[in-house]
C-alpha cells in the first residue's frame, strides 16, 4: 500500500501557494492552456459563416479608414503608409485584445471557477493565447500587403521580431493576470481598461511616426519612452517598415538634408534589443507580483463570483 501511496500526487492546500509551486502548476497545466485557447477561438467563430476571415477584416478596415483620414485628408506624408500602419497596428491589436480578454476572463468563466479546481491563472493566459492566434492570422494580411507592394523589409532587423513578441506577451500576461484578479473585486476594471486602452493607443506611435513626438519633446522624450508597448511597436516598424526617414525629393530644392521627415529612431539593432530587454525584465517582475496577488485573491474567487 505504501508504494502506491507514494506514487499518488499529493497536494497541499494552504492560504497562499508559494511562487515556485504556482509557476510549476501553470507549467503542468499547459495542456489546459491549449484547450482553453482553442475553446475561446472555437466559441467565437462557431456559428459564423466567415469565421476567421472576420479577424482579418478588422485590420483591413482600420487600414482603409486610417489611410483615408491620415494620408488623403490630413496628408501625413509617410511613404508606404499602409505598411507603416499595419506593422504597428497588428502588435497593438494583440496587446489590447489580449489584455481586455484576460481582464474579463475569470468573471466570464464564473461557473467554472465556482465549481471546479484548476490553476485559474490559465484563464487570463488563454485569452492572451487566443489573441496571439488572431495576431498570426492578421499577419497574413500584412504579408499579403508586403507581397503586393513588393516591399523590402529590413532583413537585418528581423531577428528583433521574436524578442519584441516575447516582450509584448510578457507584458500582456503580467497586466492580464493582475487585472483579472482585480476585476473579480472591482467589476469596473474592465470598463476602465477599455478607456485606458483607447488613450494608450494614441500615446503609442502607430498611426503617426515616433520622431514627430520625439522632436517636439526634445530632452523630455524619456517620459514618452516609458511606454513599454512603444518599444515593441517601434521594433516591428523598424524590422518590417524599415524606413528611418523619408528621403524627401523636395530636400534637394532647399539643399538641406535635415528637412527630411524623420520617422523612426535611428538606433541600431542593439539599441532596440536593449530597450526590449528592459521591457521584458520589467514585465517578468510585474508578472511575478501579479502571480502573488492573483494567488492571494484566488482562494476566495469561488465565493466572490
Amino acid at each position: 500500500m505504501a508504494s502506491t501511496s507514494t506514487s499518488r500526487p499529493t497536494r497541499l492546500s494552504t492560504a497562499s501557494l508559494g511562487l515556485r509551486e504556482r509557476i510549476a502548476d501553470i507549467w503542468r497545466s499547459r495542456e489546459l492552456l491549449v484547450a482553453f485557447t482553442r475553446t475561446e477561438l472555437k466559441v467565437k467563430y462557431k456559428n459564423s459563416v466567415l469565421g476567421f476571415v472576420w479577424s482579418m477584416l478588422n485590420p483591413a478596415l482600420y487600414l482603409v479608414v486610417f489611410y483615408v483620414v491620415f494620408q488623403l485628408i490630413l496628408g501625413s506624408g509617410i511613404p508606404n503608409f499602409p505598411i507603416f500602419l499595419l506593422s504597428g497596428l497588428l502588435v497593438w491589436n494583440l496587446f489590447s485584445v489580449g489584455l481586455a480578454g484576460a481582464t474579463g476572463s475569470v468573471v466570464a468563466n464564473a461557473g467554472l471557477v465556482r465549481k471546479v479546481s484548476f490553476s485559474r491563472e490559465i484563464l487570463p493566459l488563454a485569452s492572451i493565447g487566443a489573441a496571439l492566434v488572431h495576431f498570426f492570422l492578421q499577419a497574413i494580411v500584412l504579408v499579403i500587403a508586403l507581397l503586393v507592394f513588393r516591399y523590402d523589409v529590413a532583413f537585418s532587423y528581423l531577428p528583433l521580431l521574436p524578442v519584441a513578441l516575447l516582450a509584448l506577451l510578457a507584458l500582456a500576461a503580467a497586466l492580464g493576470v493582475l487585472l483579472a484578479a482585480v476585476n473579480v473585486k472591482l467589476r469596473d476594471t474592465a470598463h476602465f481598461l477599455e478607456l485606458a486602452l483607447l488613450g494608450w493607443f494614441w500615446l503609442t506611435p502607430i498611426v503617426y511616426p515616433y520622431e514627430v513626438v520625439a522632436e517636439k519633446l526634445g530632452s523630455s522624450v524619456w517620459i514618452y519612452q516609458l511606454n513599454p508597448v512603444m518599444w515593441v511597436v517601434l521594433s516591428f516598424q523598424r524590422a518590417i517598415y524599415g524606413q528611418v526617414d523619408e528621403p524627401v525629393a523636395s530636400a534637394s530644392l532647399s539643399g538641406a538634408a535635415d528637412t527630411a521627415t524623420k520617422i523612426l529612431p535611428p538606433g541600431d539593432q542593439w539599441w532596440y534589443l536593449w530597450h526590449l530587454g528592459i521591457v521584458i525584465a520589467a514585465s517578468v517582475g510585474v508578472f511575478l507580483i501579479a502571480l502573488r496577488f492573483f494567488g492571494r485573491a484566488e482562494g476566495d474567487f469561488a465565493e466572490e463570483l
Binding site: M1, S5, R8, P9, T10, R11, L12, S13, T14, A15, S16, E31, L32, A35, F36, T39, K42, V43, K46, N47, N109, G111, L112, V113, R114, K115, V116, S117, F118, K185, L186, R187, D188, T189, F192, E298, G299, D300, A302, E303
Partner: protein, 404 residues
C-alpha cells in the same frame, strides 16, 4: 492505512459586506468606510479521513459543510491551516460545470477532461467509455446547448468519474437525472467503495450517512461538533438540529420546514369518489399522499374535522391513534380509516397538518381544504324522492308554506 485527506487546523473567513461596493465608483465614494464584516465560515478544525473509507459530512444549511468540501477540492483556499490530499481528487459539485454550450459533446469531453486534469492521450483512450456511460452515442457531435438537462448531467458525471479518482468528493446535488441513471451513478459510487477509494459525501440526510459511511463528521455553524463513528455523529447532528438557533424555542411560534409535503388527499367512502356525501355513522377513509425531501423521523400527522361554522368537532393525530410512526422517506400514503362518522347532517371540512413531535416545526398545513357532507338518506328522500303535487284550492297559509 494512512490518511487520504488531512485537514489540519483549517479555518475559513469571508468578508461579508453589509452593502457591497463592487464597482470602482462606489468604492471611491465610500472610501474609508468599513468594507465589510469578517465572517467565520469554518472555525479551526482537524479531520483525518482514512484511505478507503466513505466519509459523511453532516450539517444543516449554512453549517460550513460545503465550504469545507470546496476547500478539500481546492476550489477555495483555507484562510489558515492546511489540507493535504493524497491521490487524484475528483469533485462532483455540479455536473457539467464548465461545459461550453456552443461546442459539441465531443469537444466538451476533451475540454472538461483537460480541466479535470486528464491528458489528451488519457481522454482519447477513455472517450468511447465516457460516451457509452453517458448513453450519448448518437448526440456526441451535437452542440451541447441542444442537450436536455438529463443528457447534460449524464455527460458531466461520465467525464467526472472517468478521471479515475483516488478521492471522490460528492455534494448532495447528485440526485439528478432520471431514475435509471441515478441507479447507474449509485452503482458507480458503490464500485468506487469496493475498489477501496476514498469518498467524501456532503449531505444533510442522516440516514444516508448511517447506511453508507464508515465515519462521519458534523459541522454546526462552522464548528466541528462531532467526528468519528457515523451512528454517534448522526445522533449529535439530530441534537444540534434541535438546538439550532434557527429552530424556535418552546412557546414561540413554530417554524415552517417544508421537507415533508402533503400531496393529493382523497376521501373514500361507500358512496364512491364522485359523491361527496356519507351517511351518518357511515365509514370514511382519508388517504393522504406525501413526499419527503429528507428523511423525517419525528413526524406527527393530525386530522381535524370542522363543521360548517368552522368549529372543530373532532381531532386526532397519529400519536393519539397509537400509530408507531417510522422514519418517513421518499413518498407514500397515510390512510386514516374511520369505521364510523357519528356526525349529524351537515357540511364538514377536514384540516390536515404535519408537524414535528415537539411541535416546534410545521412541515405542512392544509386548513379546511377537503369537504364532505353528511346526509341522512331518510331525510334526503323527504326532500327529493317524496313526490309532492301542489294544487291551489284555497288560499291557506299551509299551502303557501308548502309552495315555498
Amino acid at each position: 492505512m494512512g490518511s487520504a485527506i488531512s485537514v489540519r487546523n483549517v479555518s475559513k473567513h469571508f468578508t461579508v459586506a453589509h452593502e457591497r461596493y463592487p464597482s470602482l465608483k462606489e468604492r471611491v465614494i465610500h472610501l474609508g468606510r468599513t468594507q465589510g464584516e469578517d465572517f467565520v465560515a469554518l472555525h479551526p478544525m482537524d479531520i483525518e479521513i482514512a484511505e478507503g473509507t466513505t466519509f459523511g459530512l453532516l450539517g444543516h444549511n449554512g453549517s460550513g459543510k460545503s465550504t469545507l468540501l470546496k476547500c478539500i477540492a481546492g476550489i477555495l483556499r483555507p484562510t489558515s491551516g492546511e489540507i493535504e490530499t493524497r491521490g487524484r481528487v475528483a469533485a462532483l459539485l455540479e455536473l457539467g460545470a464548465g461545459f461550453q454550450p456552443e461546442l459539441t459533446g465531443r469537444e466538451n469531453v476533451y475540454l472538461n477532461g483537460a480541466i479535470l486534469g486528464m491528458s489528451k492521450r488519457d481522454l482519447a483512450r477513455r472517450f468511447d467509455e465516457i460516451v457509452a456511460f453517458a448513453e450519448l452515442e448518437q448526440f456526441i457531435d451535437t452542440q451541447v446547448r441542444f442537450y436536455s438537462s438529463g443528457m447534460y448531467v449524464r455527460l458531466g458525471f461520465a467525464i467526472a468519474v472517468s478521471v479515475d479518482p483516488d478521492i471522490l468528493l460528492v455534494d448532495e446535488v447528485l440526485a439528478v437525472g432520471d431514475e435509471a441513471f441515478q441507479r447507474k451513478c449509485l452503482e458507480r459510487v458503490e464500485r468506487f467503495q469496493l475498489e477501496g477509494r476514498t469518498i467524501v459525501v456532503v449531505t444533510h440526510a442522516a440516514d444516508l450517512v448511517r447506511r453508507i459511511c464508515q465515519a462521519a463528521a458534523v459541522l454546526h455553524h462552522g464548528n466541528l461538533v462531532a467526528c468519528g463513528d457515523p451512528g454517534e455523529s448522526v445522533q449529535v447532528f439530530r441534537e444540534h438540529l434541535r438546538k439550532s438557533e434557527s429552530r424556535p424555542k418552546p412557546g414561540e411560534a413554530p417554524a415552517v420546514n417544508d421537507i415533508f409535503r402533503i400531496g393529493t388527499v382523497v376521501l373514500e367512502h361507500p358512496g364512491g369518489r364522485s359523491c361527496s356525501s356519507i351517511e351518518p355513522g357511515g365509514p370514511l377513509s382519508v388517504r393522504v399522499a406525501f413526499d419527503v425531501d429528507a428523511p423525517v423521523d419525528d413526524l406527527v400527522l393530525t386530522i381535524m374535522i370542522h363543521d360548517s361554522e368552522g368549529r372543530m368537532v373532532h381531532g386526532v393525530n397519529t400519536e393519539d391513534a397509537g400509530f408507531r410512526m417510522p422514519t418517513v422517506e421518499g413518498s407514500g400514503e397515510f390512510v386514516f380509516a374511520f369505521a364510523q362518522v357519528p356526525l349529524p347532517d351537515g357540511e364538514y371540512a377536514i384540516t390536515l397538518c404535519a408537524t414535528s413531535r415537539d411541535g416546534l416545526y410545521i412541515y405542512d398545513w392544509h386548513e379546511q381544504r377537503y369537504r364532505f357532507d353528511v346526509r341522512d338518506p331518510a331525510r334526503a328522500l323527504a326532500s327529493h324522492d317524496f313526490p309532492v303535487r301542489v294544487t291551489l284550492e284555497h288560499e291557506t297559509t299551509y299551502d303557501r308554506a308548502l309552495q315555498r
